[in-house]
């Protein structure tokens, strides 16, 4: 169960960020923001050679005391960051991977909307619902 899901634009500003309402929202902003360092590092480490075969899933970005931060980057350099509770040990890498894939598909749907202006904040209800389902659902 994710506690925070964020979509970050190529230029590293948030297109969408949602966290569990019970927690301090700003905390997750900082967490996701700082995780971008790791994402950048991982992307630059991968290099440009294997753009096609590149693994989009970046894996665990960094663990904190209470949370684990996972990352995923699309070919257009849009980043997905998911924060999960580290106490939730049931959550395996594969589940995280599939969650990111779902997120990516939903994001693609958003982009297909002709009325969506790339670079704007995502305000799609369908995307919202999907994120909600991921935040509630216990994998």
């Amino acid at each position: 169960m994710a506690v925070c899901i964020a979509v970050i634009a190529k230029e590293n500003y948030p297109l969408y960020i949602r966290s569990t309402p019970t927690e301090n929202e700003l905390k997750f902003h900082y967490m996701v923001h700082t995780s971008l360092d790791v994402v950048d590092e991982k992307i630059s480490a991968m290099g440009k050679a294997l753009v096609d075969q590149r693994e989009l899933y970046l894996g665990l970005l960094y663990p904190t005391e209470d949370y684990k931060v996972y990352g995923y980057v699309t070919n257009s350099k849009v980043k997905f960051v998911m924060v999960v509770d580290s106490s939730n040990t049931a959550l395996r890498d594969n589940e995280i991977r599939s969650m990111f894939r779902k997120l990516h598909n939903s994001y693609t749907d958003v982009m297909c909307n002709p009325f969506y202006n790339p670079g704007d904040r995502i305000q799609s209800r369908a995307f919202d619902n999907m994120v909600t389902s991921m935040m509630i659902q216990v994998c």
């Binding site: 500003y13 948030p14 929202e25 902003h29 590092e41």
Partner: protein, 1162 residues
């Protein structure tokens, strides 16, 4: 004291791997030494941080500390670079009396680090005299802080002495072969574990061997440290390798970790001679070329295969390690360094008391990784370091720790993480638990986080397109900056940051936040208004001003031309003068193109010096509340401009709202509108148009021409609600209206006032009648300008008058269909034998019209107003603008409503008694609601009641039109016939009207006017009114005879009768035969033609006229003899045969002759 400090508690975050090769020297002050003086000397001492030892290639590195906790010194055996080996004491001493005391203090100081010190020095400042004469090796005297040139030399000597001790220790330990006697080196917290352990008498051989190995291993490691410090890198590597092997076998993890770390350090020094610690490393490079040379020698070897650890002898310590074993082969590869660091740290982490060691190892590893550009792994080390739990840290230590974490993250390129920790450090500075919060430090640290959050404090960076940044965290940071600067007691900074927040984050603030932010901004600006000055911070950072370009948002900037009445116009110069100067071509597309580009910037109207000029902005308020913008004015350049600021209040979330900013140019030239300034929430902003995104502007440069006078016109007439819409595009400044009856004339007095500041020198007046379908006769407007011009030049504030005559004279004929109806009555036009010319005609049809609603609307024109519109143009100029050839144009719109006065519903003619005259019969209809009198020339007045129609007869002389009509025909020979005919008819009508001189008067309103018939004269009527081209004159006894007037003659006398024909037609006429028939009128309808007895002809009664050429004259004579008295009429008749058929009968109308024969006088 020593026993208590089992844990090393103060981590040195600045440590790096190459610090392992340094010797630690503490520099301290005793007594009262000013900080300034101390650090002056300290700095000079620090400059001697590296020394090449004589006669060898080895280099010695010194690390100076002015503060070092003694408990850290306890760990000196564990890692020798932690050991304080030298002490330099600086003291003030001004009298010899104090000297012993001072010296005593020096000894006390030495005691603190006593166990580890190799050597020490005392620098005494200020003491002079006998004491200084005594040469002591460890004391140096200087008269003052300025005169101490030999400090560096002294330090070098001191370092050399340190080296000697170090070298001796190294050799002593290294050559110690008797393994049994090797003492066990311990870290402070281990000591109690080994207390009472009698190693020699131990019964367990295994334990003893184990213990021996441990002692050997630790000693090897120690020797390695000493070798490293002594500049023997290769030896150190070998010793470390052996130590690792030994300690691994006995599971002495803490020391194994230390040995591994030593190995890493030595390898790092070998690989990265530039150092990993940043600044200090760079200095080291400059200091000597030696290490880099060594590096060049060793570096290739670093890639070679590692020495097989098994090949190392574990028994005894071979002093000559460097001989056989490959130098570079012992060195770890860069990857291995990290692996070994990891291993070492994992061993350290087993000991809670070694937390500081672990932490420092992490920091060192991170620095190495930063050099290797392996950010990910470095971040793992740092992540680990974050979780190393030292004892309860003081607030200051926390700040230091977070700052250093931030720096390290920065080092590995994790700017965001770095910013995060820096912010945490900043927050720590002002934690509630701190009694004296360091707001300045907090603010300074917060400023340093800005790059990490991709935030610059220059608002210009946010002008490009939409905001691209992490607004949530940026806003938080800005809020914190605002708060910190406020608590620092610098409201100007708070205002600047708050302005910046409002300006750049406007799109991300919620409505409530917008309210809060503006509320607090207003509170701050009440104390310190926001300015446009850049604020420079003490540390050199400059905060550029933040103009509020979004409060309000300006969408469109448009320079407005002056109102039409004030717009200057250029007197047209000679054609093509400007063009010919530019190009030989009359037209060239290239020129046209370039002019088009010019137009983008320059506007093709002018402003006038001294006149209020306007710029229109379309603005809107993005705030959810009413926005008060004060002091909004224009920023211009090029011309001295007096801006007249405006204050406005924009409603919440307003749409586009036009705002007009005004100002007065004071000089002439090209003026450029650069932007505008505002005061919003107490913040002054200068917004330049160039920096505004999405502003539409149609050029911002306009020419200011010299001053011109201003003319104001006023009339006594009421203003017209109805404004004219002239086709030509020029606007009318004033509209006046007047109501006139058709044919009425009125004088319009126009008052001209010069309300400008320049004398009015020139005035031209033109008028233009707007196209109307009404037929207008006569001059509508007429004036005499000379009277007005005599009052010129008109000085400012002076008044002149100008009189215009308005004459509304429209068609007096009835509606055509009405005319048609009336002529259907079958009243024949000619030859109606009416004895009385006045006849009352009652026309019920006309009277019934208004009562019939359906027909009333159709024939509305009959009783309806007609409108005439004209524009009076005043072209005026004066002052300097006149010299430049500019003038102004002022237009007065004149709206004249013409009410119908009288109508001529029908017109006809009756021949008069004289052939030269005829009666014109007019049916006059009074369409006013008042009683009206009509009179024609020499006629009596005819009184008409409202809506009454009466016939009016006017006796008129026949007209000779030919002379009038010829001239236009000749001028325009090509004009088509119909047009020619129309013109001719018009001219005739005009002439007739002027002869008729019909006037009407409304006694009740005291108004009067003229009426004319020209519109309703048809061809038939005209023909009757026209004088025949053949003019017949009958003369009796040489007297012309016409009309009723009787010629007198005497009975018995012959009367000469002459018939004269003047031919005015263009053709020759004749010949004609005429017969004179006399008759008597009995006035009872009976004509007596049988007068043979009474009259006798002398000669023939028939006259013959020859052919008469055009404009010729012919006459024939005869004579009559009246035999009786009486009244006789002579009827002159044409013979049927000779009358030409093609000529109209009216041409042959001869006057009848009346002769009264009287008794012959005696």
């Amino acid at each position: 004291m020593i026993r208590q400090a089992l844990r090393m508690s103060v981590p040195d975050y600045m440590q790096c791997a190459e610090d392992h090769q340094t010797l630690l020297v503490v520099v301290q002050a005793v007594g009262i030494v000013s900080e300034e003086n101390f650090f002056r000397i300290y700095k000079r001492i620090c400059s001697v941080n590296q020394l090449s030892v004589r006669d060898s290639q080895r280099a010695l590195f010194i690390r100076y500390r002015h503060h070092y906790p003694p408990e850290n010194n306890e760990w000196g055996d564990f890692q020798t670079h932690r050991k304080v080996v030298g002490l330099i004491t600086i003291t003030d001493c001004f009298s010899a009396k104090d000297w012993p005391q001072t010296f005593e203090k020096f000894h006390v100081q030495k005691e603190i680090y006593g166990s580890t010190l190799y050597d020490s020095r005392l620098f005494v400042f200020g003491l002079q005299g006998d004491v200084t004469e005594q040469p002591r090796p460890d004391v140096a005297f200087y008269p003052n802080y300025d005169d101490c040139d030999s400090v560096e030399k002294r330090i070098e000597d001191f370092i050399e002495s340190l080296f000697i001790v170090l070298e001796s220790k190294r050799l002593d330990r290294a050559t110690d072969k008797s393994g049994d006697k090797i003492p066990l080196l311990c870290v402070p917290f281990e000591k109690k574990d080994f207390v009472g352990l009698d190693t020699d008498s131990s019964v367990l051989l295994g334990l003893k061997r184990h213990y021996k190995k441990r002692c050997q291993g630790r000693m090897r490691k120690h020797v390695g440290d000493l070798c490293l410090q002594a500049g023997m890198l290769q030896d150190a590597l070998v010793h470390y390798h052996m130590s690792v092997e030994l300690l691994r076998s006995v599971n002495d993890f803490l020391w194994l970790g230390a040995a591994l770390e030593g190995l890493c350090s030595a390898s790092v020094i070998s690989h990265y001679p530039g150092g990993t610690g940043g600044k200090s490393g760079a200095r080291r490079l400059q200091g000597s070329s030696l290490p880099s040379e060594a590096a060049n020698r060793h570096r290739p070897g670093a890639q070679e295969v590692l020495i097989d650890p098994g090949a190392l002898t574990t028994n005894g310590i071979n002093p000559d390690t460097s001989a056989e074993i490959g130098r570079a082969k012992n060195c770890l590869s860069p990857e291995d360094i990290i692996d070994k660091y990891k291993e070492a740290i994992s061993y350290y982490s087993k000991y809670k008391n070694a937390g500081v060691i672990e932490l420092e190892a992490c920091v060192k590893a991170v620095r190495v990784l930063a050099i290797q550009k392996r950010g990910m792994e470095a971040s793992e080390f740092l992540q680990n370091a974050v979780y190393i739990n030292l004892r309860q840290l003081s607030e200051e230590e926390k700040i230091q720790r977070y700052s250093i974490l931030s720096e390290l993250y920065e080092l590995i390129g994790f700017h965001r993480k770095s910013a995060f920790f820096k912010r945490v450090a900043a927050m720590q500075c002002v934690a509630p638990s701190i009694s004296e919060p360091g707001w300045r430090a907090c603010y300074k640290l917060l400023l340093e986080t800005l790059p990490g959050y991709s935030l610059s404090l220059d608002p210009k960076d946010f002008n490009k397109g939409t905001h691209r940044g992490w607004a949530a965290v940026q806003m938080r940071l800005l809020h914190e900056l605002v708060y910190a600067s406020r608590r620092m007691g610098n409201p100007a900074l708070s205002v600047r940051h708050l302005s910046f927040l409002l300006q750049t984050m406007l799109d991300f603030l919620s409505d409530q936040e917008k309210k809060d932010v503006t509320q607090s901004l207003e509170n701050y600006t009440a104390k310190c208004p926001g300015t446009m000055e850049p604020i420079t911070l003490p540390d050199g950072l400059t905060l550029p001003p933040v103009p509020f370009t979004k409060l309000p948002i300006v969408r469109c900037v448009k320079l407005l031309s002056l109102p039409t009445s004030l717009r200057p116009q250029k007197v047209k110069s000679l054609l093509g003068q400007t063009m010919s100067a530019k190009s030989p071509f009359i037209y060239s597309p290239i020129i046209a193109h370039s002019r088009g580009e010019e137009r983008n910037k320059k506007i093709d109207f002018q402003w006038v010096q001294g006149d209020v000029c306007e710029v229109q902005l379309m603005v809107y308020n993005p705030m959810p509340f009413e926005l008060r913008v004060e002091n909004m004015g224009l920023l211009t350049s090029g011309v001295e401009f007096e801006s007249l600021p405006a204050a406005l209040s924009l409603p919440a979330e307003s749409g586009l709202y036009p705002v007009t900013l005004v100002g007065v140019p004071q000089t002439t030239g090209m003026i450029t509108v650069n932007g505008y300034h505002t005061t919003v929430f107490g913040v002054f902003s200068d917004c330049l148009l160039d920096n505004l995104p999405g502003v539409k502007t149609s050029g911002s440069t306009v020419e200011v021409i010299p001053a011109l006078p201003r003319l104001q016109i006023s009339t006594a007439l009421p203003r017209s609600a109805h404004s004219l819409q002239p086709s030509s595009g020029d606007e009318i400044s004033t509209n006046v209206s007047v109501q006139l009856y058709n044919g009425e004339a009125q004088q319009l007095v126009i008052t001209l006032e010069n309300i400008g500041l320049e004398p009015l020198e020139q005035l031209e007046v033109t008028s233009k009648l707007l196209t109307t379908k009404e037929k207008l006769s006569g001059d509508f407007l007429s004036w005499k300008l000379e009277e007005t011009l005599s009052q010129f030049p008109l000085q400012p504030g002076k008044v002149a008058t100008f009189t215009v005559n308005i004459k509304a004279k429209l068609d007096f004929s009835c509606q055509e269909n009405l005319l048609q109806d009336l002529s259907d009555d079958g009243v024949s036009v000619s030859g109606f034998p009416l004895s009385s010319p006045f006849r009352q005609v009652v026309r019920p049809r006309v009277e019934s019209r208004p009562t019939n609603p359906s027909e009333g609307s159709k024939s509305g024109d009959l009783g309806h107003l007609k409108t005439l519109e004209a524009v009076l143009n005043f072209k005026y100029s004066g002052g300097p603008g006149h010299v430049e050839g500019y003038y102004r144009n002022l237009s007065l719109g004149l709206h004249v409503e013409v009410e119908p006065s009288v109508f001529f519903t029908r017109v006809s003619t009756l021949p008069a008694t004289s052939t030269r005259q005829c009666h014109l019969l007019l049916d006059v209809f009074n369409s006013t609601e008042h009683e009206l009198t009509v009179c024609a020339r020499n006629n009596s007045e005819l009184v008409l009641h409202p809506s009454e129609c009466q016939r009016m007869a006017i006796q008129v002389d026949k007209f000779n039109f030919e002379s009038v009509s010829e001239s236009p025909g000749e001028k325009e020979p090509l004009a088509n016939l119909k047009q020619l005919e129309d013109e001719r008819q018009e001219a005739r009508g005009l002439e007739i009207s002027s002869k008729l001189d019909i006037c009407w008067r409304i006694p009740s309103l005291k108004r009067s006017g003229e009426a004319s018939v020209e519109g309703l004269l048809n061809q038939l009527v005209l023909e009757h009114l026209q004088l025949a081209p053949l003019q017949w004159d009958v003369l009796v006894d040489g007297q012309p005879c016409d009309c009723e007037v009787a010629a007198t003659c005497q009975v018995g006398d012959p009367v000469h009768l002459e018939v004269r024909l003047t031919n005015r037609s263009p053709h020759s006429v004749g010949p004609f035969a005429l017969t004179v028939v006399p008759f008597q009128d009995h006035k009872n309808g009976v004509h007596n033609y049988d007068l043979h007895d009474a009259i006798s002809f002398v000669g023939s009664s028939t006259f013959y006229l020859d052919t008469v050429q055009p404009s010729g004259q012919s006459a024939c004579l005869g004579a009559l003899l009246f035999l009786y008295t009486g009244d006789f009429f002579l009827h002159i008749r044409f013979h049927e045969d000779c009358k030409s058929k093609e000529l109209p009968p009216s041409w042959f109308c001869l006057p009848s002759v009346r002769v009264r024969a009287l008794e012959a006088q005696a």
